[in-house]
């Protein structure tokens, strides 16, 4: 009966926060008015909750997902596996900070497994990324080794499929 009980909770209007986040995560352009309709709250309540989420930095930013292959200008992305020497008392944070402050670095994660930091970099060309790695990153104090992988094609990102236009296969009208 476990899922039965779980499911009943859905009806007790999941807290408005979770609903708002779920809707905005999928589409940041949905208006407050529409969110209000969708979850059965007033527009004011939605606006207030979103303001709070922004203020608390739960919502950090509203961004646009771009298919660079179609945007038709030079663009390169790579993932770099970085092994580092953790520093006494400061662990990985200090070295991570030195890395994430570079503009070309779009994401940095501390990983479990055979390497320590995963660094996601973007630039106009692969050459620029290579230069960034051997001029800035690999030579940094505390870094033991790097391995760079270029992204060749994006199939799916943030839950969105890039490669094909899936169309509605349904009959226009059905009983």
């Amino acid at each position: 009966m476990a899922w039965f009980d779980l499911r009943t909770k859905v009806f007790k209007m999941k807290d408005i926060r979770a609903e708002i986040l779920d809707i905005l995560q999928d589409d940041a352009k949905v208006s407050n008015k529409e969110i209000a309709s969708m979850i059965g709250e007033s527009e004011d309540a939605i606006a207030a909750e979103i303001a709070k989420l922004e203020q608390e930095k739960v919502i950090l930013k509203y961004k646009t997902l771009i298919n660079r292959e179609k945007a038709d200008y030079d663009h390169a992305e790579g993932l770099i596996e970085v092994k580092v020497e953790p520093q006494r008392e400061r662990g990985y944070d200090e070295i991570a900070k030195r890395i994430y402050r570079f503009d070309e670095v779009k994401a940095v994660y501390l990983m479990s497994g055979t390497y320590d930091l995963s660094v996601h970099v973007e630039a106009s060309t692969m050459k620029q990324i290579s230069e960034f790695v051997f001029e800035k990153l690999a030579v940094m104090e505390g870094i033991r080794s790097t391995a760079t992988y270029f992204i060749m094609r994006k199939y799916k990102e943030h839950g969105v499929i890039f490669v094909d236009d899936e169309k509605d296969e349904r009959l226009v009208i059905s009983p």
């Binding site: 779980l6 349904r170 059905s174």
Partner: protein, 393 residues
């Protein structure tokens, strides 16, 4: 050659489908936003598709037993028990080609020529012709917006005669979105028992209820022995094209239904059965996460459509099940048919006139919200323009 005389009287007399005309108009046009689709817009979850592909790759391409694969029926048994409190042995469960086949074999098993079958009106397009093909007489029971399109005891009482044998319970309902709660059902079970009726309960939308969990009439005292429960994978797992449904009921009736099933169908498609096992098993293990997620998405769209339609002046009652809203368009002075035809021609929004679902549908249109939020928003804008431009706002 005149073929008319070769076509059986029964088939000749079945009227053409009320949605055909709109299908023809809408499918000729570009950029139509369709609110006329009676199936989920989600594609089947990939784990289910992947399992079926694997089954085909590993040579599962043969007949199965008439009843369907044992692991599938074990999963269905477990599902019906855990979800709706319905306890059946696996011999009481048969996998069918969609709920549609389940309806057909139930009709043909229960109905003798002249038997009367109570069918709510409006309701799904197949019941009336299905009853008729089985030789029965379908008796429409008018359900009205004022009663949230539910069956009520008074109306049923008046319709029951000595010939009444079966009552169809299609809740949550297509096209109205009506449900029958436990209390609503309790209000009519004594009448059903007193008149010794059999129930065909079409519960294909059981996973899509937005207020309370669906209650099967078979779970009420004294009802299991007189109910044939029909369900399937189409709506709850977005598996319409797989054609997989099932029927469960008293063993004597199930054995009789299998007689028809074995000679006309033999068995449900094996790949679909493998997919069905995966659907139920994985969802059960994951606490029905995908089903809940789909339901949650529908629920948002449901609220959106219900609110927006009421705001722009097309009154509708709050549907608590399935994925349809059923607004009242009588204030426009148009018939449902005219309204839908003009709406699709002038604004390229396709809906289905209520009349396609039988009596009681006049004055209403069915809008499906199994469509993306963008489409729904766009559709509402176009309907608003349509009302404004014609002075009906």
């Amino acid at each position: 050659m005149n073929y008319e005389k070769y076509i059986s009287k029964n088939v000749r007399e079945i009227p053409p489908s009320g949605i055909r005309k709109f299908f023809d108009i809408a499918s000729e046009m570009d950029d139509v936003i369709s609110l006329g689709v009676g199936e989920p817009d989600f594609t089947t979850p990939w784990n289910i598709c992947e399992m079926a592909i694997y089954a085909i790759e590993t040579g599962k391409t043969h007949y199965t037993s008439n009843h369907g694969m044992t692991p599938l029926r074990q999963e269905i048994k477990r599902y019906l028990s855990e979800r709706f409190g319905l306890d059946y042995e696996i011999d009481q469960i048969v996998a069918t080609v969609g709920a549609s086949e389940a309806l057909d074999i139930a009709f043909r098993t229960l109905i003798d020529p002249g038997d009367e079958v109570l069918v709510p009106a409006p309701s799904y397009v197949s019941y009336m012709p299905g009853v008729r093909l089985a030789g029965g007489v379908a008796v429409p029971i008018l359900t009205v917006a004022e009663n949230d399109f539910k069956y009520t005891k008074d109306v049923l009482e008046k319709a029951i005669t000595e010939k009444t044998k079966v009552i169809i319970m299609p809740f949550p309902n297509n096209p109205t979105g009506a449900i029958m709660s436990k209390e609503d059902l309790e209000g009519i079970t004594s009448l059903i028992i007193e008149n010794d009726l059999m129930v065909i309960s079409d519960e294909i939308y059981a996973e899509l209820t937005y207020d309370k969990n669906h209650v099967s009439i078979a779970s009420l005292p004294g009802m299991k022995e007189r109910t044939v429960v029909i369900n399937g994978f189409s709506k709850s797992f977005a598996m319409t094209g797989w054609r997989l449904g099932y029927v469960a009921g008293p063993i004597e009736l199930v054995d009789a239904m299998v007689k028809i099933h074995q000679y006309t169908i033999l068995c449900a498609p094996v790949a679909a059965q493998e997919a069905g096992i995966e659907a139920l098993k994985t969802e059960r293990k994951n606490g029905f996460k995908q089903v809940k997620n789909m339901m949650n998405q529908y629920n948002r769209r449901r609220r959106f459509m219900y609110e927006e339609l009421n705001k722009i002046g097309l009154a509708c009652f709050e549907p608590l099940g399935a994925f349809y809203v059923f607004p009242d368009i009588r204030k426009t002075g148009l018939s449902s048919d005219e309204f839908c035809e003009r709406l699709v021609k002038e604004k390229k929004v396709a809906c289905v006139p209520g009349t396609a679902f039988g009596e009681g549908g006049e004055g209403f249109i069915r809008c499906s919200y199994a469509s993306s939020m963008e489409n729904l928003k766009d559709a509402i804008e176009r309907i608003t323009e349509f009302l404004n431009e014609n002075g009906w706002a």
